[in-house]
Symmetry: C2
Subunit: 504 residues, 2 copies
Amino acid sequence: MKPSIPKGTRDFSPQEMVKRNYIFDTIRKVYQSYGYQPIETPAFENSETLMGKYGDEGDRLIFKILDSGNYLGSFLQDESKMKELTEIIANMTVYSITGSEDARKNLEDRQADARKKLTNNISEKALRYDLTVPFARYVVQHRNDITFPFKRYQIQPVWRADRPQKGRYREFYQCDADVIGSDSLLNEVELIQIIDEVFTKLGVPVIIKINNRKILQGIAEYIGEPERMVEIAIELDKLDKVGPSGVENGLKEKGFTDIQIEKLRDIILVKAGSTPSIFEKLNQIEQKDVKDVVFSPKKLGVYENSPIAKKGGEELEYIINTIEHLNPNISIKHDISLARGLNYYTGTIIEVKVDTSKCTSQFTGSLVGGGRYDDLTGIFGLPDVSGVGISFGADRIYDVIEELNLFPKEIAATTKVLLINFGDKEAQYCLKVLKDLHAAGISAELYPDTKKINKQFEYADKRNIPYVVSIGEKEMESGRAALKNMITKEQIEVPIADLTKHIK
Amino acid sequence: MKPSIPKGTRDFSPQEMVKRNYIFDTIRKVYQSYGYQPIETPAFENSETLMGKYGDEGDRLIFKILDSGNYLGSFLQDESKMKELTEIIANMTVYSITGSEDARKNLEDRQADARKKLTNNISEKALRYDLTVPFARYVVQHRNDITFPFKRYQIQPVWRADRPQKGRYREFYQCDADVIGSDSLLNEVELIQIIDEVFTKLGVPVIIKINNRKILQGIAEYIGEPERMVEIAIELDKLDKVGPSGVENGLKEKGFTDIQIEKLRDIILVKAGSTPSIFEKLNQIEQKDVKDVVFSPKKLGVYENSPIAKKGGEELEYIINTIEHLNPNISIKHDISLARGLNYYTGTIIEVKVDTSKCTSQFTGSLVGGGRYDDLTGIFGLPDVSGVGISFGADRIYDVIEELNLFPKEIAATTKVLLINFGDKEAQYCLKVLKDLHAAGISAELYPDTKKINKQFEYADKRNIPYVVSIGEKEMESGRAALKNMITKEQIEVPIADLTKHIK
């Protein structure tokens, strides 16, 4: 038997762990410095907490846990339950059918339905799919113990039964921060500062894209489809991937009319503009080159005539002005095509990408996503609590830092000093030296076996240990150790009592 | 719908998280200072990696994950598979039977067997049950990339479908450290030093109990049952809980004869002795008061006549002598009744309990367990690799520290400074002050909403924030802020530029 792990999952080696912890620690420290507090929720939730919160596709991708013990027992209690099971099985076990396409489709539907029924009967728990829904559940469940506004961060893995592919895993970490119970735009400003600070610390140049769902709502109203904002938003969001004609085709497929699509064309053709220009352009009446227009509200008739789009524009303006005033070097852009797939966002939406104009990264995915939601906790019975949050995708950030070779060299070494083991007497002596090194805050280890010296040096080399200390019989007598710097290959003799002074 | 979480799981609030992180960080830092390197493995493994590794009871307690997608699809592919499913269902759905006890038992067995078959067909993954088996799998899978001896630590949650009760959860963290690929007893010495250092840092007085499976093997041989060492060990291990007569009854139930039990009586009656005395007593020929005898090998005829028991005794002696020489204040005791339930241990076994003679704790459970195993990776195809490891039970340690009120007060405050929000103009000003505080490494936040001042102070109070800074219009003009110490209730006026100097 050759050992392996489930597809889409990963082991993390020590070399990978130190790099991952470097990212997590960076994010965690910035979160903490802004007063965000940690929480954790269980890996699995009751199925009813998660099901129906992520759409049909989400439901399908949630990992379900088989009930423990006698999981079919409930069927065996009485005849009516037994009959139900028999029926389910009957529906599942009609495995082939001759006949029309319709008949085949009908069979598939019956089987899927039967499977769903069986699933509900044998599984009542499911693995966390993201951190947002468990957080909403947490807030409602513990509302009496929470001090609002509640600023929390949460760094935990989530699981999705997605088809694994490069950069997409079935187990991955999310690093979320949310403020709940405050509708102040200062929260948005703060979260954007956090994003900027994290990537500055990591050395990754990024563009922070921002938009507001209220503007999208105005656009939906402008084309006469106020209820279909999310649908339009989802299509618009694909602009970067599928281009303008792709977006138009997507809208056509969803049943939008040619007139509606014509009205949206100005928006579709637009590229993400730089921020200062957008507010000027908001006031321009006509645009010659539509490609250069970020958002021409008067032409679109949205901004002036739609109170909600106007509100969205004002929010955007406040946030961008405040943040640029605080940090003139920040790279933040309004992107009218930015929509984010999740349907609970109601105001600001944020997305972060690598600034490929400033580095050689080929990475086009989103590194951070976030936004404001006005009623996330409503699904659990606590309506009208506004919140806003962001989520760092640690795995993608890892890939970018690796690609750009930006991991600091010094994090590779987990042990500073190796003490050579010459034999039991010397080892006993070295244990005391080790104690002094630890007391001085230096991570150090004694090679446990009395192997050949070159093997022990090889171990230090492979482990990236920068210092090797040799204390043999002679050194024990003289009180002076041989200290070798494994990087410069220099070896010096130092008094054993002074060892700590020579290790940087 | 009232939101809730599955039984046996927990949410961790910010107050709990900082305490938990204090424990994890303490353990992690000590591990790192001794050169242990972090790894992580996936939350779920292939079922065949876990099943059969923890005994029948363990198999039952492993959480299985329902295959995603069309999980009964494999049955629908051909008639023979269909027939198999029909048979399984038939076996499961005979829900009641009249007849003898035997017939009922037989039905239950058939149902359990059918359920097992169905489980194997609808679930191929299972949640991690401990960190040891995934670690063994990791070592074998990545053996070509690992530098041996491999010192790794791993801090991750595990899941068990145990019946939840006070102090026993279905999701809990383990904090393991192992050295694999070295049979030096210095590894045992090091792990015991680590245990001592962690509990010294945490301020919890503990007794480190140590024994050696080889001695237990000698005892098994002594009573003529060399193959039944683990069975004897498991019964002996219950001594603290059930007392001597309980152990004797347990052995009787397992079919040991009265003569064998008589031979074991000296051991059963023994209490864990203090270490220095044990090696003296090893040489005593006869004992007057058997209650005071820790291990009287000559009387038992074990130590002298059993090479394996002798080896175990020598290992024990080396470890205890070395550690006591290094740290004369350590509380380490040989306990001949210590066995540990896990059957893969082959040498040293370690267990840590609260030293209730030195504190008021009522806690009798084990805080750390560990030992040496000579062939853990053999199950995955890599035989003859010796390893030794320990596992800190973070949840139990938490309970003890809480009970003894030993959590440092200062960890409660996650934010140092709150800036009062007097309105938008003042808030914009404060954002810059905040930036300076962050740059000085001080965690600080601005209250996001323009609420009544007393509400904002109340927030600081509830959040345990020690400093509140007020900068209103007057203060903006004068450049001097009001700084209130929330603990002493003192308020002083300081130049805004000097704020960082006044915050400790």
